[in-house]
Every structure is written in structure tokens, then in C-alpha cells.
Symmetry: C2
Subunit: 115 residues, 2 copies
DNA sequence: CCCATTGTTCAAAATTCATTGAACAATTGG
DNA sequence: CCAATTGTTCAATGAATTTTGAACAATGGG
């Protein structure tokens, strides 16, 4: 693709941007998915989220996630693999991302009539 | 004043609203101040935040904080005392508000309306 | 009762955000 | 080289947020 994506360094990550990213349902869902697959060691690319939103809308959300420092993009060929920058986030804001993920899981559970 | 403010119950508090509230710098500063004065057992009213924003803008932000379940308003005479709903937040989203407050403290914004 | 204090409410303006489709760029495979 | 795949970028649109000032309401003191 055009230019390689720019990521903030660990100490350039700013709290309001992070929280703003997480306050959007689409982006929160993306982050949750990335967190789940982080353990499974499977990498996710943009195309894996086409059921979340349209293609160009996804690019917009991923750009915001990248610029906020939540997500790291690795380019391989024409696909871009995303991963949660959990270590950087934990170092900068200890416990924050974990608490958000846990809260999101709890809310999803409360809305799920099956579980 | 007109009508008494409406607050969501503990289990009506929703994560995206909470995060959206906290992602705004003005509201985050308000929440941080409330958290600090929570230990000091001093109550804060709207007027204590006049250096954060204009009067009617503050009313807007406080309304959002109330509706999101972050803040409880107690009316006494013509003044309204605000306090952080920390117990409810901790019960609903364990560790979340603490992590956010710690993260915000790290970003050192030192705007205390009282001290 | 009068009036200052404390905040809310309303409407308007300014700003920002999310979403869409079309065009574009880069890489891979045949 | 040609075509398909994968995403980005751009412009436009509509929606939601933030901000401001003026008017309003409720309380308490003199």
C-alpha cells in the first residue's frame, strides 16, 4: 500500500485518545476480538472484520486505533496484520486495558440471552 | 432547581457511555477532582468548577456524567453537591475507574479547583 | 417582598465524528 | 503483462457533540 503506518511510541500514548477509541462500539468490538486472538496466537487482518463495518469505514477505525496506540499494524504482502499493543498499554496505564476488556466481556454477557 | 436529577441504577450503567464520558478532557478533569476530594470528605459543587468551563457548559457535562452513572448529585438548598459513584462503578466494572484515575494522574494535569 | 446566588434549560452556532462509495496504490498469481 | 486481492485515501453527507449566551427556576438572606 501507500505509506507505512505511523504508530506512537509507548510514552506518546495519551489517555483521552485511548478512552475515546474504546468508547466506540465498533472499535471496542475490534479490540476485544484482537484480545481474544492474542492468546490463540492467530493474527487478524482487516478482512476479518468485514462483518463489523464497511471496508473504508474499517480503515478509518483502524487508523484511529493505530494513532491512539492501541493497535500495531504489521504489513505482509498486501495484507495487514493487527495486534493489540497490550504490553505498551499495560506499561503506560497499568490495569486499564484489562479492566476495560473485562468490563466489555461482562456487558456482552449481560446482553446475551443464551449464556 | 426545576426537577430532581435522574440517575441510572448500578446495573444500568453502560460501558460505552462511561468511557465516552471519561474520554472528554473536561469531564475527566472533573472526575479526577471528585476522586481526590472523595478521600478528603469535602464535597464539591458546580461552582467549584467554573475555571474548567462556562456555567452552562458545566451543567451540560455534569448532566452527561450523571446520565452515564459516574456522578451522584445531592441537592441542598440552591447548591448541588456532586460525588463520584465509586462503589457502584467498582461493583459493575471492577478496577476500571481506579485504572483510569491512576492513568490520568500519571498524565499529570494538576487542575484543582479548590486547593 | 426584593434580590443575589446557584444551576438548569433552551436555541443557535461551531465543531467533530462516523459512514459511504468511488478512485487509487501495492502486491501476488497466472 | 493482466487481473484479482487487500486496504488506503478522498470527498461528501448526515449525525452527534460541544460551546455559548440569554432566559428561567428555586432557594435563602436582609
Amino acid at each position: 500500500m501507500s505509506r507505512l503506518p505511523v504508530h506512537p511510541t509507548r510514552d506518546q500514548i495519551e489517555l483521552p485518545l485511548v478512552l475515546d477509541c474504546l468508547s466506540d462500539p465498533t472499535r471496542l468490538a475490534i479490540v476485544c476480538s484482537l484480545a481474544e486472538h492474542e492468546e490463540a496466537a492467530t493474527e487478524l487482518c482487516c478482512g476479518d472484520f468485514y462483518n463489523f463495518a464497511g471496508k473504508s469505514n474499517l480503515a478509518y477505525h483502524f487508523a484511529r486505533l493505530r494513532e491512539a496506540g492501541l493497535v500495531k499494524t504489521r504489513i505482509e504482502g498486501t495484507t495487514r496484520y493487527m495486534r493489540l499493543r497490550r504490553d505498551d498499554l499495560d506499561a503506560r496505564f497499568p490495569g486499564l486495558i484489562g479492566a476495560v476488556l473485562q468490563a466489555a466481556a461482562r456487558e456482552a454477557k449481560g446482553r446475551d440471552p443464551v449464556s
